[in-house]
Symmetry: C3
């Protein structure tokens, strides 16, 4: 079983293998061919457009058979546990389950001897989202070639973002300096790195990574209008002019235009927001291959990430 | 980019190409083969059975890879704009987006230099529904061979029907006489052609095209029971006996049986209602091919419809 | 047309053909190849995970093209009849419709000269669920080889279960003794066989088949807590120790753990609950082949089940 639940499941060599493979997929359009048909089930317990479609496209490009499960049309209304649902999918023949769930660490209940299928985490609560981290890494590597010495500013809703944590950890491991900025109420003591005022973070960063405001996860809202938030913590046009030459803008999307980022910047010359989405398909193809090849013992995985 | 947003995007030659192609698909069951896999995304923001399944079948018959987006399970709940959703689908690799949306002319915001994928309109609000018009044309042509000189009566909910407008315009262009009938409250001054009493319309028509009452788009309902409506504006058994020899009945479906049309007439000998549905698949296969071939510049398109 | 609506549509020879075919599918992984692409539409008007995914996997393993219809995203909101929906699917090119519906005998309105496609019943109200019966049969036959002389105890919500009735009839026909146990309020006079106390039923059975409590079909609930129900009518750990050597536990799932059955028994050594799910895919592949081969007259069907 080769699960990808958090970035901690990957060794440095795994990450390199995945990023290289994703780029070779983009260049050659070559695809991997299994001798037997692979069945993938996408289990999305939360609404999603880009992550689900990006995975589904990756699966179809690889020639896999695909089942799509959304919580609206399923037996979870009959009170079945997640464990029983996943065991069922395995008995039906699922080789890989791609799962998004609103609970942090939903996968803890699935790490169980009886479950043999591969699990790829497509987002757990405010926890992890490893394929998003990997596509962010690919986007940064395509721009700067080396991670060592880069400054990445992660800005905004640090408390509820599953991207912030995964990205901060892996970027730090790869030699980046990671800094944070955002409303005090949303600071997150678990994140490694320095907090600083918005203008300073934007000024020193090679990568300005804006986070989406996770309205759906907030219990209390800030006492700010959208426009006030934008002026205080958003990437305004004026702030974008302070950015270093050669620096880039990233955002995991969907974007709240005019809130986290000025409307005009979303597709500006130094924005890589749509390139991130583009990279997502190749990354997910590479991750699905990685899961299958690791399972078959065909990968030399090196040490896991914690030992980087 | 070759979009099909309204019938005005098609030249007379385009229409002829599509109708001929649809018929040759029906005869030979031949399908077009792309060298690279084509990815189509069906974006349905309104419920639909026949249009969505007809498109999806067409796409699968053509060997395309298909993503199905319905508004219930998507990030539109996170407030993303339609433009950003479509740009995302493009970055993911979508070649053609088939879109149904409740807003008239939703596609105006998508006619944008940054969007390169092909858009096929599967219905916008009370506006257009070009593939429905094309399958109506095919059904009429299969019956009468020539359009010139035919009388087509379009009857019922003229104000809210996206079929009425598209069909009336293109049929008039092709040399048909188009007449209308229905409750005064639903008359639509934008439609070209004569209004007349129900019985007269039925008597002179070669094609009696009944429209569905668009309950879901009405803000005020007529002050009539279903039975009263049926007697006043429906195709009753008695009225059907006034129809000319050789004339046919059409309806875009879903049918409100016993309201727009008597139950017994839906599958009567001169009804073409289910044949319309049958023709829908071949028309949509032909339209998808048209979009791809036009994009590659392999079509000689002639003049657009306004110059017919 | 070869419909599978209830087990009464199958002759003894049909059942044998299906069970044998399912096993040969499991062994050889061979799949049937149609010369023309087969289009299957899954029409699920009730939520379902395992049945729908089991069918969809079977269809994809067979290389069929698949449309998935769920009531949430369809025109049934526009008031279309089931007959018209199915006729539409037929015109679109559907060869087989797999249907689940909350109404008992929904299919009566579809047994109509105008409908030519094959219908496979995936569950009607509290009525029938023939593919569930067939996978139960396969599971029992794989265990005991012969049906003759076995005692099968069906236990629990006998009134609302579509499994109880189908299974009881066919098992009796095949030479099993079927006994029942459960709350008096849920006894069902239509079921053939003896009622007995829980402990006795468990003690004499070769197969202890627990039923799911169909909360969603109950108008009045029993005056019992979950724990009280479990003690009175559930398969507790203590009761499981009374079971005969070599006997097995079955359950159609989803399981209410700790209610119908003790948590620890779900994956115990003599449980075949997940094997039932595993067998479901091969059974459904065999049923889909059966429908197509019967339609072409390539099957020698023997006498229908009532004459067994």
């Amino acid at each position: 079983m080769a699960n990808l639940l958090t970035m901690n499941d990957l060794s440095a060599r795994d990450i390199e293998w995945i990023l290289d493979r994703a780029e070779s997929i983009q260049k050659d359009k070559k695809k991997f061919r299994e001798s037997k048909p692979i069945l993938v089930t996408n289990l999305f317990f939360e609404p999603s457009t880009r992550t689900r479609f990006s995975f589904e496209t990756a699966e179809k490009r690889l020639g896999f058979q695909v089942l799509n499960f959304t919580s609206e049309t399923s037996s979870t209304t009959k009170g079945e546990t997640l464990y029983d649902t996943v065991r069922t999918l395995e008995e039906i023949g699922t080789d890989i389950a791609v799962i998004r769930h609103k609970d942090d660490h939903y996968f803890d209940q699935l790490i169980h001897n009886n479950i043999k299928l591969n699990i790829v985490n497509a987002g757990d609560g405010s926890g992890h989202h490893p394929t998003q981290s990997l596509l962010d890494l690919l986007t940064i590597r395509q721009e700067f070639i080396l991670f060592q010495g880069l400054t990445v500013a992660i800005i905004g809703d640090l408390r509820h973002s599953r991207v912030a944590r995964s990205d901060a950890e892996v970027l730090t491991s790869l030699g980046c300096r990671v800094v944070f900025s955002g409303p005090k109420e949303w600071h997150n003591p678990e994140l490694p790195g320095d907090y600083m005022p918005m203008d300073e973070a934007v000024r020193i960063a090679d990568v300005v990574m804006m986070l989406r405001i996770q309205h759906e996860r907030h219990q209390h809202t800030l006492d700010l209008t959208k426009e006030e938030y934008h002026q205080a913590y958003g990437l305004t046009l004026k702030r974008s002019e302070m950015m270093k030459k050669g620096s880039i803008i990233m955002h995991p999307a969907p974007v709240n235009r005019g809130v986290e980022i000025a409307d005009e910047l979303v597709e500006s010359e130094n924005s890589r927001i749509f390139k991130q989405m583009h990279n997502g398909v190749a990354i997910r193809m590479a991750v699905l291959e990685w899961a299958l090849e690791t399972e078959r013992g065909e990968m030399n995985r090196g040490e896991l990430i914690k030992e980087w």
